[in-house]
Structures are given as structure tokens and as C-alpha cells.
């Protein structure tokens, strides 16, 4: 959807809000991954439990007609593992992934925090949708002027 026809330029606000929707969608997907794997104690190929993932956003730079750069929207640059928090160890000798002392490393996913993040992500998604709705409303109002 990167054809720079004049129609897309006309619908600039709509396109920018669409990039915001894409980004928030990626954030919600990542939160879903974190919540689903909140109890995954061993990742394939490693001895570690699941490590929480975080989405990183960056602006999309667009080149204007006069050669200047302008911020045009948002994109997901990377979904990186979160190394800022430690794995929590719980004592459960019956667990298949328990070490010799009977301790199991649990993922550094805090479900409460993920839920709070989910709410902000959904609200941000709704905000972008609201931008689109109002863009359409503006265009329709302007059209009524010509009728």
C-alpha cells in the first residue's frame, strides 16, 4: 500500500492513522504472546524459560515534494526480548524443568503489567480508529457542501 498516488496524499491522515493501527495491533499480538507464555519454563534449544518480549516503535520518515523529511506515521522496528527484569525462581521439585535443588525458573512476565499494557494498547488502537472516523466525517461533511 505504498503507491504514492495523489489519492493517497489526499487521504494522508487516514494512511497515518492506519500505520498507528498496524503498530498497536503488533503490540497487542506481542502482549498475547507474553500472556500465553507466562508459564513456559523452557524454550526450545535453551535452558531458559520464556523471556518477555517488548515492541519498539519508530516514526516513518517521508520525503516531501521539496526534498524535506517529514514524520509520516509509525512502524514497528523490532520486537526485542526484555532483559531488564530477572527470571523468578520458585521451589517445585516435581516440575520436569526443576534443577538439582528443586528450583524452577519462571518467565519474567508479569501478567498484571501485561493486562495494563493491553488496556493502553486497545485504547491507543481506538484512538487511531477515532482519527480515521473523524477524517471520514470531515470528508463527508465537505462533500455535502458541493451537493
Amino acid at each position: 500500500m505504498n503507491n504514492s498516488s495523489s489519492i493517497n496524499k489526499l487521504f494522508g491522515g487516514m494512511r497515518i492513522a492506519a500505520t498507528g493501527l498496524n503498530a498497536e495491533r503488533a503490540r497487542i499480538d506481542t502482549i498475547a504472546r507474553n500472556v500465553a507464555n507466562a508459564e513456559t519454563t523452557r524454550m526450545p534449544g535453551t535452558n531458559e524459560p520464556y523471556r518477555r518480549q517488548a515492541v519498539h516503535f519508530a516514526p516513518i520518515m517521508e520525503r516531501m515534494a521539496n526534498g524535506q523529511q517529514m514524520i509520516g506515521g509509525v512502524e514497528v522496528t523490532e520486537i526485542a526480548p526484555d532483559h531488564s527484569t530477572m527470571f523468578e525462581e520458585i521451589h517445585d521439585p516435581s516440575h520436569p524443568d526443576a534443577d538439582s535443588r528443586g528450583y524452577v525458573k519462571m518467565p519474567n512476565v508479569n501478567t498484571m503489567k501485561e493486562m495494563a499494557d493491553l488496556i493502553t494498547a486497545v485504547r491507543a488502537y481506538e484512538a487511531n480508529l477515532s482519527v480515521q472516523e473523524n477524517f471520514v466525517r470531515m470528508a463527508e461533511r465537505a462533500l455535502r457542501l458541493a451537493e
Binding site: 500500500m1 503507491n3 498516488s5 495523489s6 489519492i7 489526499l10 487521504f11 487516514m14 494512511r15 492513522a17 492506519a18 493501527l21 498496524n22 495491533r25 480508529l129 480515521q132 471520514v136 470528508a139 463527508e140 462533500l143 458541493a146 451537493e147
Partner: protein, 121 residues
């Protein structure tokens, strides 16, 4: 990513609705293009400039046409899971709006033409 779409009767209904809307839009666009062509065919006096009225109308129609044709590929892309829900909605609305604007321009255009034809000489 959008596995839910297209499975079951609801998806089929939505698809049929989208296709019907698209068909209606592209038919309307075809009519408009034909009318613009017949109207601009009789208009030769203003055509010597670089950007004549005829060129502007044609260019505008082509832009709207590409926007509508872009949406015609949408059902396939949705089935392939290449586009998201919000993308579908945004593109549908975008093509609908640009089509309505073009339609309004065309209406004014035809009105002006009729007004001139009705003039007593």
C-alpha cells in the same frame, strides 16, 4: 493472521457484499469515464495547453480508478491473510470517498454542460 475471515457463512456473506459494492463502484466509474470521454471528445478548443481541462479530468479519473481497482484486489488479499481488518475498512472507505468526490465533480460537470446546451442563442 486473519484466519477467521472467510470461514463459515458470515465470511461468505461479507465477501459477497464487498464484491457487490465493488462491482457497483467500478460500473459507475466506467460510466463516468465514458461520459468524460464523449464530452471531452467534442471539446477541442482548449486542448492546446499542457494542462487542459480534459487532461485534468482524465488524470483525476485515473487516480480514482486506481484507488477503486486497488480495493478490487482486497478480497483476495484478505483471504491470503495479507491485510488486517482495519486496513480493509480504511481502504474501502477511502475508495468510496474518492469515488463520491469524483461523482460530485462529474455531476457538476454534466450540470454545466446541460446548462450551456439549454442556452438560447
Amino acid at each position: 493472521m486473519v484466519n477467521g475471515i472467510g470461514s463459515g457463512g458470515g465470511g461468505g456473506l461479507a465477501r459477497a457484499a464487498i464484491e457487490a459494492a465493488l462491482k457497483r463502484q467500478s460500473q459507475g466509474l466506467q460510466n463516468m469515464q465514458n461520459q468524460a470521454a464523449s464530452l471531452s471528445g467534442s471539446e477541442t478548443a482548449g486542448a492546446e495547453g499542457g494542462t487542459s481541462f480534459k487532461n485534468l479530468v482524465e488524470q483525476g479519473l485515473q487516480n480514482v480508478n486506481s484507488s477503486v481497482q486497488d480495493v478490487e484486489k482486497l478480497p483476495v488479499e484478505v483471504m491470503k491473510g495479507e491485510v488486517d481488518f482495519h486496513e480493509v475498512a480504511a481502504r474501502l472507505k477511502q475508495s468510496e470517498l474518492s469515488f463520491n468526490f469524483a461523482l460530485e465533480v462529474r455531476n457538476k460537470f454534466v450540470d454545466a454542460y446541460r446548462e450551456i446546451m439549454r442556452m438560447n442563442v
